[in-house]
Symmetry: C2
Subunit: 133 residues, 2 copies
DNA sequence: GCTTCATGTTTACATCCGTAGTCGATACAG
DNA sequence: CTGTATCGACTACGGATGTAAACATGAAGC
């Protein structure tokens, strides 16, 4: 199976769902955070053990989505990927997969399926107005 | 976002990426299709063997996303899930996961990240206009 | 100096996913 | 009737994922 070199742009290694939760915690935390910090942030909510958090963190490090900096006995972790980039990437994936790459189709779908409230509509109009001139 | 508890109809079992490709073929095919038909449609594009297509089909049947109808010695497959529902579900998942459930935020992001062309913008405006009155 | 605690590393394991080969039954060619 | 092409069912297998325990090591208390 001659696998394509996977987007020449090195390795944006796919981030899993559980890993994403960790990333969110890191993005929140603004600045470095220890494994314990992350655990305190997401452990409760997701009902994860500290061990699980550690595993996810090390996988993220492998995937080069998170960097580490030694701080005495432990590590401090910080995201290597900007949240915006991640969000953008995921959004694009969805649009490509389900809407033939046309973002406008997504919006159309959201609108038609009533996933958008009247408030949303107004808000979007506002955004468009600003963007357009 | 007062969203309903997820279609009371129990488990819409998650559909994987590869499986989704099969679903697309089924949705296209309008009407029943045999495994061979599906293979002819997606086999080439994804470089899958007939065996792979069969496996994916049976997994989809298990997940109750596809139904079968015997036709002589073989089966005819047809989607049990409407494409719109699938698309809506996936879109919602993304919005929930990355935009705190606010669809307008997604649109805002697309706009700001220049994922929307000027044409898209105009098109969306048009859609909104129609939807709004 | 030991005991204990915190911390990263290694190992574990069930399930899912992508991908496909093999098997048993059947329809069809001759 | 016998060989062959088909078809679905079953089996396979490596890698990813979710979840976590066991382990090694150094720090810190006493």
């Amino acid at each position: 199976m001659p696998r394509k070199p996977d987007t020449a742009t090195q390795s944006p290694e796919r981030i899993s769902d559980a890993e994403h939760a960790i990333m969110e915690a890191l993005w929140d935390q603004k600045g470095d955070a220890s494994a314990q910090d992350i655990f305190d942030t997401v452990g409760e909510a997701r009902d994860w053990s500290l061990a699980t958090v550690k595993t996810l963190l090390s996988r993220l490090v492998q995937k080069q989505a998170v960097s580490t900096r030694p701080d005495g006995r432990r590590f401090l972790y910080s995201p290597l990927m900007a949240r915006d980039d991640y969000v953008g990437g995921e959004s694009r994936r969805l649009v490509d997969k389900l809407f033939g790459g046309k973002a406008a189709s997504l919006v159309a779908h959201l609108a038609e399926s009533e996933a958008l409230t009247m408030d949303d509509l107004t808000e979007i109009e506002q955004i468009l107005k600003e963007l357009k001139q």
